[in-house]
Amino acid sequence: MEAILVDCVQSSLRHFMYRNAIFMCERLCAEFPSEVNLQLLAGCYLQNNKAYCAYHILKGTQMPQSRYLFAISCFQMDLLKEAESALCSANEPGAEVPNGAAGHYLLGLIYRYTDRKKGAILHFKQALSIDPLLWAAYEELCSLGSAEEAAAVFGEAAAVSIHKQYLPNGFPPQNADMSSEDHNVISARRSMDDVSSRQLKQMLGNNARDVAGSYHGTTASSQSSGQPLNGGSSQLSLYNTPSPVATQSLQLSGAAPPPPCRNMHPNGPNLSALGADSSPRSTVNSTIQAPRRKFVDEGKLRKISGRLFSDSGPRRSTRLAGDAATNATTNVTSVAGNGASNSSKHLGSLKPSSAALRAVTVRKGQSWASENSDEGVRNEVTDDSRFNPTLANCSCPSGDNRTFDQEGASMPVAGPVLTIARVLTGTAEVLGLLRLFGEAYRLSCMYRCQDALDIYSRLPHRHYNTGWVLSQVGKAYFELVDYMEADQAFNLARRASPYSLEGMDIYSTVLYHLKEDMKLSYLAQELIATDRLASQSWCAMGNCYSLQKDHETALKNFQRVVQLDSKFAYAHTLCGHEYVSLEDFENGIKSYQTALRVDARHYNAWYGLGMVYLRQEKYEFSEHHFHMALEINPCSSVIMSYLGTALHALKRSEKALMMMEKAILADRKNPLPMYQKANILISLEKLDEALEVLEELKEYAPRESSVYALMGKIYKSRNMHAQAMLHFGLALDLKPSATDVATIKAEIEKLHVPDEVEDCL
């Protein structure tokens, strides 16, 4: 009876029928209370977004997989301390972190959010060393500013460890999860590295193997190695190894060959089903597309079991589908929570793929991989489901994840031959891709945007034209203050994946800078229609109001974003900007400081603080903050010019001038440093030089009234009245603001005084 119930639960999960799954699972736990069944139930809850339920049932459990699931629920409920103690209890400092790479990744996140940067970096690096395809960990390292070069991380050592994953027994054709990129998902199973090939045959071959062996050999033993389930196999293997996991994974797989999978799942009960697998194999062959989908499903299922990357999954939309795929395979392996460490690994890898899918336009069905690989944990299932839709949207080359069910059989990908050669080439391909992405992402986090753009342009077209890459490109242009290009890039990104909200907050800022209020309001409306609970939609709305100078409503919108997601640093910075526009400096400072607490490398917040102190005339503070901002983003000419202004206010005019020169060199298109330079020169009484600079500036920005006004002032102090009059006139023609009109007219009057005196006389 237990087996039947387990089967039923997993099948419900596979089909996303959560109510059924939860009910059945609760009956299962009541009838056969065991920790493994509890894990299954927790998985059901987590998939259904009920982390608090999982929390309560798993409290106090000791098995590694349970601890991992418990940690995930704590993390989702924001109980970081408990999550941390679950993952690495204080009493046993040397104990191994459950689920290997996934566990380390989760620990890294916890450390990051509790402000222990060094510990976080350590854990992410650990995670990456266990599972080199864990892109999310690399991303976190980049955003913490301490990532090594991608070539090192995704290099030889990584290749070796992936080989080990896929060829645990040396050379048996295990499911090479290496489904590089696309296949990642299935990769667990498929030692096929032909991601691109997605060969059914591989799948077929792998299935059998995958199921059995891929999961790091150990699983192989548990499963009938002969299982033909392609997609499923990998999953199966995962599932097989730890029975609870297995069952879960089965659910995920929903894939076509559910029967085989299911059979596979419970290590014990349904080994007989293995025989059934062979049939799926043939079917697999027939439909390459189908298998893919299945794989995806499997991946998802897997994910659920082990990884519970629930937060990481969806969050990491940027887990490039491609990367994810690769990661997925690795992740899967790392997942090995329950018993079958191998299987979990596969799951792990799958997961990333699914994540990737979700995130970005599914890059070639890699998502499946991610999804598939996920730990048998049900949680993954939810992730998968998420991915699936994305996949669906993106024209996944390989079938969608949605067709989980089909997966087993259909995906011959994993199944087929996991030859060593395949593993090797697959690994090489995946790592090659990851190297590119990793390096580009790392450079863009260090704000070396031009270099990052160069690397992105080296990506193959099929990857470049996906939402993730395009929005990263847009972001890079934004940092380079090239708003027109950024606009274009983001536009393409919207068209490539109109449902993806990643990076749309930056897009709204770009439109704000370009003063395109129509486009901005259209974007905001679209985003809110897509997802009312996403932080990016309300950021766009807030920017829209801010552009219309309605700062109070803008502030309300940004506060909504903060409520939705208090870990979103940009929202706090935008709140700060609005407070400052409303001249509420105290709250502005508080908001900026909150932003910095969330992300110490958010240079916009440092800049914001510098501006506030500049206004309040606390020049020392202002200089320090601009300096910090510049350290993080050394290419921004705007920050340099403001730093120069602060230095000048501190009477360090030499340094100020040097800084202005630097800013002028950094970005020729920026007229501001020249203007500031002229200002400084005027206050140093070097009027001629100032005039020269302003003349040059006139060429760059011929319609700027403040340039003429300043020149007029210089001529006036030199008593060259005619010139002064001319320039003041020009300045007035260019419609300055009311205050300036008053000032300029006042200056003109003063010019006329000598004449008036003559007239009166």
Binding site: V481, I639, K669, N679, E704, S706, L710, P736, V741, E749
Partner: protein, 192 residues
């Protein structure tokens, strides 16, 4: 709108009014930073009705003329315009007819800067505080007093539904002598 003579104190007749208050982009409402008080009021129709953005509630005075609305700032601010919402059709004899605007450092040295006469107004009445001289575009002051000297049909008490006070927007970029007008400058002048 009011006609202005070239002298400091002048009288102008204003008829009608706008239903919607259209304000220039470079003006921003300064009333939030000020303390508002009135010379007298009927319970339930106090000074808060002047600032509640609700045109249905009004301030009703309850004493001898002239009725005063005092707006006091913590530091000197530049003011450019005062807008009043009054409606003859609704308030008839309570509608103000002669209004004097005074400015100064405090109650002891207020000086009249503007006088207007309203004739059957209905809606927002913008009253510019600028003088003719370009140097006098703004009134730089600690305190503003809006005095209702007389009402339509010789009414004793007055109804005013809303008052807003406008001044120039601060330069968003500190330490610049002039504000920027062209897109190139504005785009590069801040990091968001």
């Amino acid at each position: 709108m009011a006609t202005e003579s070239s002298e400091g104190e002048e009288e102008g007749k204003i008829t009608g009014g706008n239903l919607v208050l259209a304000v220039d982009d470079d003006l921003c409402e300064m009333g939030k930073k000020a303390v508002w008080s009135v010379s007298s009021c009927k319970p339930g129709n106090g000074v808060s009705s002047l600032r509640d953005d609700n045109l249905d509630t009004y301030w009703q005075s309850d004493g001898a003329q002239p009725h005063l609305v005092n707006v006091q700032f913590q530091k000197k601010v530049k003011l450019q315009m005062v807008a009043l919402y009054v409606d003859f059709k609704l308030d008839e004899s309570y509608t103000p007819s002669k209004i004097s605007i005074r400015a100064g450092d405090g109650f002891h040295n207020l000086k009249e800067i503007k006088t207007v006469e309203l004739v059957k107004p209905a809606g927002w009445i913008p009253i510019s505080l600028s003088g003719n001289d370009p140097r006098e575009t703004f009134v730089n002051t600690f305190m503003l007093q809006i005095a209702v000297l007389s009402n339509h049909l010789n009414g004793r008490d007055t109804h005013v539904r809303q008052i807003k006070v406008y001044g120039p927007r601060l330069n968003p970029f500190p330490h610049q002598p002039f504000q920027f007008t062209s897109t190139e400058f504005i785009t590069y002048s801040c990091v968001r």
